[in-house]
């Protein structure tokens, strides 16, 4: 029979584990670093790299808050302020929030699905290399003192060649196109992994909510990212080659840019927010010690959000002067999108209400998220209403709103997820005590920093200003906001130190420190390279709660089932299952470590540098490397993948 009831990590003895380790291990040192295709190493790297950008960009925010702490301040000049503002926004969206969520997806998703890697491990490595190279590309502008200064949204005509003649904005425009490759490739990988790699028995209605949220995010990425690629791409064609897309004198349109940008921009909010809610939907049930209420409704809400998010972008453009009928449509849809978020909200409340809540650090971040998201959601509904929107557009009210949503409702779940999953990733627990301190500092600091900005908006303080005169009634609130910003920063620093301590001296976590329900907790902490020697067999939405001990499959002679047991791990394979009911369907050879993804990413990076400095030779070299890498890749396909 193909099923035994032994827990997965006990199915082989000590010696066998070592043998498997040898088959799966990366080369030690530098070669292994550049050639690994292990989703866990890549996921960790995503998270660490993204957090590096988070702290750098956070320090920039502190400099900006110091400048705004008092009227007529001179901490930085307006030119520097504009650069800081642009880098801060761009980095937080493109180089922190998006990739850190992809990092958690990379690490957690295959484990939750009970498989041995992502569907395309080499593409996975490729998307990481693109992410880090585009980040370096973007930050190079700052290091050479030519940072972009047109705002993270890059509105024309300000960012036209005529008004921003330097190379600054080219760094921005090209980096947006560049990093989009990474996001898109990652999304393809998530979709195929979710549909084709689930453990046997994990039918589509038993998939953890976090997987649903990643799936929803990935579909949004596929349809949204091309729009921002076009927005930044067409702008760059204008800037680099003198085309006329956004030049009104030659029939171009500045509004076209805004439409393309926000066609991506609003789904992007949900691209960030939806996986964050997925994390919350994993944390709250575990800490409330009961299954998530209304699983089906929550999963449906996640998919509904993905659709509706494409019909709301014009609410970013209410002040641009469009026909009222058109705007009314987008106003209505922007109000409708509150509904699926409300469904999730009530599901979380019901879960806590009917459960016995443990106030652990991840749970505190979860509850903090609920409160902050409630406020951000309410101001979001307010902004969907045109007359209100006109009143507060381009004021600090907007800054308050999107920080409640993108900082509060995304960063708090991410910190919760760090406390929740780091024990799995490292085998060591973070300190609960310092976690609590970190949470309270962040929560209090956050609200001090951003709540007053709502009022500042009502008092008429415009956003994107480097300083302001005194006597307008803005001074106290700005000072409080600055103090709050620093408290928030100290809170994040406490978690950084907590991580630093746990990394080397943390308490051992054990396989399942939270007594959680999903499959990532069925393997060791940290998991072995092959994740599961034998693939678990799922018969419930909460396998580790309902199936004790967790049954695991063993291999049979059949092509479809030969990789289910330890033989699959031995042969560097993983099972492929059907899309809806997850029945074994085939066997996938997983590729071995390779330099191809790094080489391909380098080719693309060189090509972008060529565009940036308008050096044809550099561009040609980059393209040549790209063609060689792609050819090699295509050549290897039948060798590596049967």
């Amino acid at each position: 029979m193909a099923v035994t009831d032994a827990p997965s990590h006990d199915t082989h003895g000590e010696l066998d584990a070592e043998e498997l380790e040898e088959i799966w291990a990366d080369a030690p040192g530098v070669p292994g670093f550049f050639s690994t295709v292990d989703h866990k190493r890549i996921g960790m790297r995503y998270i660490y790299t993204a957090f590096f950008f988070f702290f750098v960009s956070g320090i920039m925010a502190l400099v900006m808050r110091s400048q705004l702490a008092a009227p007529n301040n001179h901490v930085v000049g307006p030119e520097t302020y504009n650069q800081l503002m642009t880098i801060h926004g761009t980095t937080m969206i493109f180089l922190f929030n998006t990739p850190v969520l992809a990092g958690f997806g990379n690490y957690i998703l295959p484990l939750q699905l009970g498989t041995r890697d992502m569907a395309f491990p080499r593409l996975n490595a490729f998307s990481y290399w693109i992410f880090v190279l585009s980040g370096i590309f973007f930050f190079a502008s700052f290091l050479i003192g030519k940072a972009p200064d047109g705002g993270w949204f890059g509105y024309v005509p300000l960012t036209d060649k005529a008004f921003s003649p330097g190379i600054n904005l080219d760094f921005w425009g090209l980096a947006i196109v560049f990093v989009g490759i990474s996001t898109t490739v990652g999304a393809v990988n998530f979709i195929v992994t979710t549909f084709k790699m689930r453990a046997p028995g994990m039918t589509i209605n038993r998939v953890p909510i976090f997987v649903w949220s990643i799936l929803s995010m990935a579909f949004m990425v596929l349809f949204a990212v091309p729009a921002v690629t076009l927005a930044a791409g067409l702008l760059e064609l204008d800037r680099l080659f003198g085309t006329a897309f956004v030049n009104p004198h030659l029939g171009g349109s500045v509004l076209l840019y805004q439409h393309l940008f926000w066609f991506w921009g609003h789904p992007e909010v949900y691209i960030l927010f939806v996986p964050a809610t997925g994390m919350i939907s994993m944390i709250i049930p575990v800490m409330a010690r009961r299954p998530l209420a209304a699983y089906l409704w929550v999963a449906t809400a996640l998919i509904a959000v993905a659709f509706i998010s494409f019909g709301v972008w014009v609410h970013h453009m209410f002040a641009t002067g469009m026909p009222v009928q058109a705007m009314s449509f987008f106003s209505a849809v922007s109000l409708i999108i509150v509904l699926p978020s409300g469904v999730q909200f009530f599901a979380w409340i019901a879960t806590m209400w009917k459960g016995r809540v443990r106030f652990t650090t991840p749970m505190l971040f979860g509850i903090g998220f609920l409160l902050i998201f409630l406020l951000g959601g309410i101001t979001g509904a307010m902004l969907a209403v045109m007359p209100f929107n006109w009143q507060v557009t381009d004021s600090y009210f907007i800054v308050a709103h999107f920080h409640y949503v993108l900082n509060g409702a995304v960063v708090f779940p991410i910190f919760g997820a760090i406390y929740f999953w780091y024990p799995k990733m490292s085998g060591r627990r973070l300190s609960e005590r310092w976690g609590h301190i970190s949470f309270w500092l962040m929560f209090v600091g956050f609200n001090l920093a951003f709540f007053g900005m709502h009022i500042l908006g009502f008092l008429g303080m415009p956003r994107r200003i480097a300083t302001y005169p005194s006597g307008l009634g803005w001074d106290d609130l700005n000072l409080i906001s600055t103090i709050g910003g620093f408290i928030f920063a100290v809170g994040t620093g406490v978690t950084l130190l907590n991580w630093f301590h746990a990394r080397w001296w943390g308490q051992p976590a054990g396989d399942n420190p939270w007594d959680a329900d999903s499959l990532e907790w069925a393997t060791t902490s940290p998991p072995p390279e092959y994740n599961f020697a034998s693939i678990p067999v799922v018969a419930s939405r909460h396998p580790l709660w309902d199936q004790r001990p967790l049954p695991t499959a063993s291999s049979t002679g059949d092509e479809a089932t030969k990789s289910l047991g330890p033989e699959g791990a031995e042969h560097h394979e993983t099972p492929e299952t059907t899309g809806l009911d997850a029945r074994p369907q085939g066997t996938l050879d997983l590729p071995h470590p390779t330099y191809l993804p790094f080489l391909l990413a380098c080719g693309i990076a060189v090509f972008f540098v060529g565009l940036l400095i308008k050096a044809v030779l550099v561009g040609v070299i980059g393209a040549a490397v790209l063609v060689v890498a792609l050819t090699w890749w295509t050549w290897r396909t039948e060798v590596d993948l049967a």
């Binding site: 029979m1 193909a2 099923v3 035994t4 009831d5 032994a6 199915t11 082989h12 003895g13 066998d16 498997l20 898109t184 999304a187 393809v188 990988n189 979709i191 195929v192 549909f195 084709k196 028995g201 990425v221 596929l222 990212v225 091309p226 076009l230 067409l234 080659f241 003198g242 085309t243 006329a244 897309f245 030049n247 029939g251 171009g252 349109s253 076209l256 439409h259 393309l260 066609f263 020697a533 067999v537 799922v538 018969a539 049954p551 063993s554 291999s555 479809a560 289910l564 033989e567 031995e570 492929e576 009911d581 029945r583 074994p584 369907q585 085939g586 792609l630 295509t634 039948e638 993948l641």
Partner: protein, 209 residues
């Protein structure tokens, strides 16, 4: 059986044997699904360009702008059918290798390559003959960019085809192992399908006043 399964301890209950029973049929390979996703996102890119075309058109009084000749239809139609027609030998190649027919594969790929190359040459000729550059105005910018991007996709298809064809001539594909051919053919059909939308919008629609 390997030594590993011998250490599988305590084989007892069999709670869900049906979950591990193999599904019927083989299903699509994962690269096929990957290509479906790539096609979705690339389609969105072209849809964005077509949307931009109509947006720019709606915001100008005369289209094409004064001084710009309308696109020539006759030659475009002929070579469009050459491109669309190239999907037929591609289908023959795909079907062929599924049944292990190496000759269908090799000559199908080659015929599709020649037809695609003819289309690219026509495109380059057509760009060469235009009396305006892509800097002149928004019309010329969107025309060059979109049609050029599509031609570039055909060109990339030709380059990839060279690799696939070399592998085909070396006999690297068989009835069982041909995922490269399958996925490459999808890309080719996709590029042809995009032209079904780009051609009417960019070549034919300017003639509608």
């Amino acid at each position: 059986m390997s030594a590993l399964s011998a250490s599988t301890a305590g084989t007892a209950a069999v709670p869900v044997p049906e979950a591990t029973a193999p599904a019927r049929g083989e299903g699509r390979p994962t690269p096929w699904w990957g290509m479906v996703c790539l096609i979705m996102t690339e389609s969105t890119l072209f849809a964005g360009l077509i949307g931009s075309y109509f947006f720019l058109r709606a915001s100008s009084k005369v289209w094409p702008p004064p001084g710009i000749e309308e696109p020539k239809v006759m030659l475009a139609l002929i070579f469009s059918f050459v491109l669309w027609g190239s999907s037929i030998p591609m289908l023959i190649a795909e079907r062929g290798i599924k049944r292990g027919r190496q000759r269908s594969l090799r000559f199908g790929l080659m015929a599709a390559w020649i037809m695609g190359a003819a289309f690219v040459l026509y495109s380059l000729y057509d760009f060469h003959e235009l009396h305006y550059g892509w800097r002149d105005n928004a019309y010329s910018s969107i025309f060059y960019t979109t049609v050029g991007l599509h031609t570039f996709h055909v060109f990339v298809g030709l380059v990839m085809s060279v690799v696939v064809q070399i592998k085909a001539w070396l006999g690297k594909f068989s009835e069982e192992r041909h995922v490269t051919v399958q996925v490459y053919a999808m890309y080719w059909h996709f590029v042809d399908a995009v032209w079904l939308f780009v051609m009417p919008v960019f070549i034919l629609s300017p003639h509608i006043k």
